[in-house]
């Protein structure tokens, strides 16, 4: 069964410290059309997540379907940016850290 959008974001809030984001501090907000907004803060690699539309360094606007394809690994974040499926406002370089968030959640390859 497909995950709900909330189910995609909740694990991000449980990531804690992500090795590959060490040294990085930034805030990213996901505006998911029709589903709501989620705010992710990275503080030297430590990730926290809250629902809501607080201001962020970088705002990503995308459809629910796109988010699900990214979260399941079907669609690579960089390709989604290149295809215009995710629009980026604010600091574009921050957007790529999102890839690390989803990579950190993916099950390790068998």
């Amino acid at each position: 069964m497909a995950k709900s959008t909330l189910e995609i974001f909740e694990p991000i809030g449980r990531l804690g410290s992500v090795r590959r984001l060490r040294g990085i501090s930034a805030t990213v907000r996901f505006d998911v059309t029709g589903a709501g907004s989620w705010h992710v803060a990275i503080d030297d690699g430590v990730v926290t997540m809250a629902e809501g539309s607080a201001p962020a360094d970088c705002v990503l606007e995308l459809e629910e379907g796109t988010l699900h394809r990214i979260a399941s690994g079907q669609l690579k974040p960089l390709i989604a940016f290149m295809q215009g499926l995710v629009t980026v406002q604010g600091e574009p370089a921050t957007a790529l850290h999102v890839a690390e968030l989803f990579a950190a959640m993916a099950p390790a390859p068998a």
């Binding site: 590959r20 606007e61 690994g73 079907q74 669609l75 690579k76 974040p77 960089l78 390709i79 940016f81 290149m82 295809q83 215009g84 995710v86 629009t87 980026v88 574009p92 370089a93 957007a95 790529l96 890839a99 990579a103 993916a106 390859p109």
Partner: protein
């Protein structure tokens, strides 16, 4: 038009992934035979753009490519046979960027006033780049509207929407097929207008309202940190007694600048796209090899290439895209057919060599730049690439990296650099079977493991991995020199095919083996002899396949033509094994051939013997410049000057042909700061 040869010449100007293909009059008139158009993000935004004066298309007097992003067309009305004393002339000046801006000027040289009908016909088929040559039927619907003084051409298929906006500074009459003016010109009078064709709705989610260049904009505005001037001024400076070399060098640098491809999510960075105009996108193999060739000259390309390829690395098993975890991409496309998964390029992974080459470039980049952070940042991706080589790369378990597409419909048959269908054949001309383990792939794997061992030891704090990789590389080298060696003919087989047979054609691939270091010392001499022998060496360069093989064809894409990038790797390989005179001979042949192409080496040229044709015969391909042909002179310079990073120093050990005289390359950037290299030609070439 018809027989007017000027009208048939194709003019290409570009900016990033936006480009215009027109004839020498500036006319855009697309057909399956003429891939004209304004292209942007892999979609054609304009398939017709035709200027008529009183119902006829003016003739071309001359055409200037002003910059890589602009061109100027000087036209006169008339029959096309007599240009003299034309009473009227027309100038179209076009600059490409997010569509194009065109300054149209009509001049009356006569003593009488004249009245003219000026008409610009416009249309767009919104073809996907993949459809241009196949003329496939579109699945969506077209629309147009006229609003606020602008003509909008549009195409919609579900959520895939593309729009072209056309407007002019002098108010025209607008209908759904174009713009019209009724002009009155006084004696010696002139009239002009600006025309804007904007790729307004292009799938980026933003609506663009203007073109990048406006009236009178002559300065390049690349979407990256370095402008063209800065790019040229930060590259090493070259001086040489042989005058053509400076021209070839500058041409390479300018073309490499034009080939830079930037991504908004990687601000400031750029990687080399594969070729203009049709391959202005990311190709794993091409971007990697071009970055490698350019390392001594523009090392920042390599870092961006590695980061982008890391961000798109395979994570799952997906047969449609030939994707596997750890595999590096082959090609990324953004057009309609890719968006609707009618083509697999989002991204497509049909390449067996990009993954080991990714590791090779990562190590070589650190050796030049000292960028340890890059090596640490990409540790996970590098480990995943190594895992792919062992787990997925060897599909039949014989210990060699091979390929066989899993996407049987639109996937690539050959996933090595010689990717045409008939490239991997036996000496008797018969076809080999899949999966194919081509020889150069084994060389790349050997090199990748040796280099990754260094990275594991020095940066990843994993000496156990380093030991394992070195053991595996040594074992691979031992087996390879037995299994691929054709003892009676004294060269390495092109491949081992799916039936375990040695594919016994003599090919340029043996030069790549020298580059990788997998060749046993006692076999290098035979390789060098073959590479410089009459069957492989044409006098200009090494042919992809030797004369006398069953598949040989001097104008066959990968079975007899000479590829400059191939030759640059071969020369580097010969130099690695100490064959400096042989390397210099190949370098000189390729550089001399560049002279015949105005300093811009083509992707490939014909394999005819030099003595037969006296000049290199160009192979008709669609792309110029091609990235790794552009990079070839750069790597040849490196091989000639013997540039090798050793710790924090740059070793310079020149071995130059006598005819080059003195060669200086000044301010070579790297972990040593900047260093100069000098050499004097002492090698007599026979």
């Amino acid at each position: 038009m018809g027989d007017d040869p000027m009208a048939r010449a194709t003019v290409q100007i570009l900016d990033g992934s936006t480009f215009v293909v027109s004839d020498a009059r500036g006319e855009v008139d697309a057909s399956p035979a003429e891939p004209h158009g304004l292209f942007h993000r892999d979609t054609r935004f304009l398939s017709r753009w035709s200027l008529t004066i009183d119902g006829t298309v003016p003739n071309a007097l001359s055409t200037d490519d002003l910059h890589y992003f602009s061109a100027q067309f000087f036209l006169v009305p008339g029959t096309g046979t007599v240009y003299v004393d034309a009473p009227l002339s027309v100038i179209r000046k076009r600059s490409v960027g997010n569509g194009f801006h065109e300054d149209l000027t009509v001049l009356n040289h006569g003593a009488e006033p004249i009245d003219l009908d000026v008409r610009i016909d416009a249309a767009s088929d919104f073809a996907d780049l993949f459809e241009v040559k196949d003329a496939l039927a579109k699945k969506g619907e077209y629309y147009h509207r006229i609003e606020g003084g602008r003509l909008v051409l549009g195409y919609r298929r579900e959520r895939f929407v593309r729009e072209t906006w056309i407007s002019a500074s002098a108010l025209p009459e607008i209908d759904e097929r174009g713009l019209s003016y009724r002009l009155h010109l006084e004696p010696h009078g002139e009239w002009s207008t600006c025309l804007d064709v904007v790729a307004a709705v292009d799938g980026t989610g933003e609506t663009h309202t203007g073109t990048k260049y406006g009236h009178g904009d002559d300065r390049a505005k690349p979407e990256m940190q370095l402008s063209l001037d800065e790019w040229l001024s930060t590259a090493p400076r070259l001086a040489c007694d042989w005058p053509p070399l400076a021209r070839i060098y500058e041409r390479s640098l300018v073309d490499l600048a034009a080939l830079r491809f930037s991504l908004r999510v990687l601000p400031g960075g750029a990687l080399p796209a594969a070729g203009l105009p049709w391959f202005m996108t990311i190709f794993g193999r091409d971007s990697l090899l071009t970055s490698l060739q350019a390392l001594p000259f523009a090392s920042e390309l390599a870092a961006t290439t590695l980061r982008v390829l890391a961000a798109t690395q395979g994570t799952r098993v997906d047969d449609f895209r030939d994707e596997q975890p750890g595999k590096i991409v082959h090609e990324i496309r953004l057009g309609e057919m890719t968006a609707f998964e009618e083509r697999p390029h989002s991204p497509y992974f049909g390449t067996a060599d990009a993954t080991p080459l990714f590791l090779v470039l990562l190590d070589e980049t650190e050796r030049w730049t000292g960028d340890a952070q890059l090596v640490r940042d990409l540790e996970d991706e590098a480990r995943a690439a190594l895992a792919w080589i062992d787990e997925y790369g060897d599909s039949n378990g014989d210990g060699y990296l091979d390929y066989e597409r899993r996407n049987k419909e639109t996937g690539l048959e050959n996933q090595c650099w010689k990717d045409s269908w008939n490239s991997i054949i036996f000496a008797d001309g018969s076809m080999s079977r899949l999966p194919r383990a081509t020889c150069e792939l084994q060389g790349y794997v050997y090199d990748a493991k040796i280099r990754s061992a260094r990275l594991a030891r020095e940066f990843w704090d994993d000496p156990a991995l380093a030991d394992r990789l070195e053991r595996e590389a040594a074992e691979l080298k031992r087996r390879f020199n037995v299994d691929f060696w054709l003892a009676d003919r004294e060269f390495f087989a092109l491949a081992i095919d799916g039936d375990g047979r040695q594919v016994d054609s003599l090919t340029s691939n043996i030069g790549h083996l020298l580059w990788s270091g997998i060749v046993d010392d006692d076999k290098a001499d035979a390789c060098a002899r073959h590479l410089l022998g009459d069957r492989l060496f044409s006098g200009w360069g090494v042919r992809t396949m030797a004369v006398g093989e069953g598949g040989y064809n001097p104008i066959g894409y990968h079975v007899g033509t000479v590829w400059p990038h191939d030759n640059s790797l071969i020369a580097w390989g010969l130099a690695r094994y100490g064959y400096r005179a042989e390397a210099a001979r190949i370098a000189l042949g390729i550089l001399e051939s560049a002279e015949y192409f105005s300093g811009r080496l083509p992707e490939a040229f014909a394999g005819y013997p030099r003595a037969l044709t006296a000049f290199p015969v160009e192979y008709p391909t669609a792309c110029s410049p091609q990235a790794w042909a552009t990079g070839a002179p750069l790597l040849l310079l490196r091989a000639l000057l013997g540039l090798e990073p050793v710790g924090d120093r740059l070793l310079v050990d020149p071995a130059l042909p006598q005819s080059l005289g003195r060669l200086e390359l000044l301010d070579i950037p790297g972990r040593w700061g900047r260093v100069d290299a000098f050499g004097r030609g002492r090698l007599k070439m026979t």
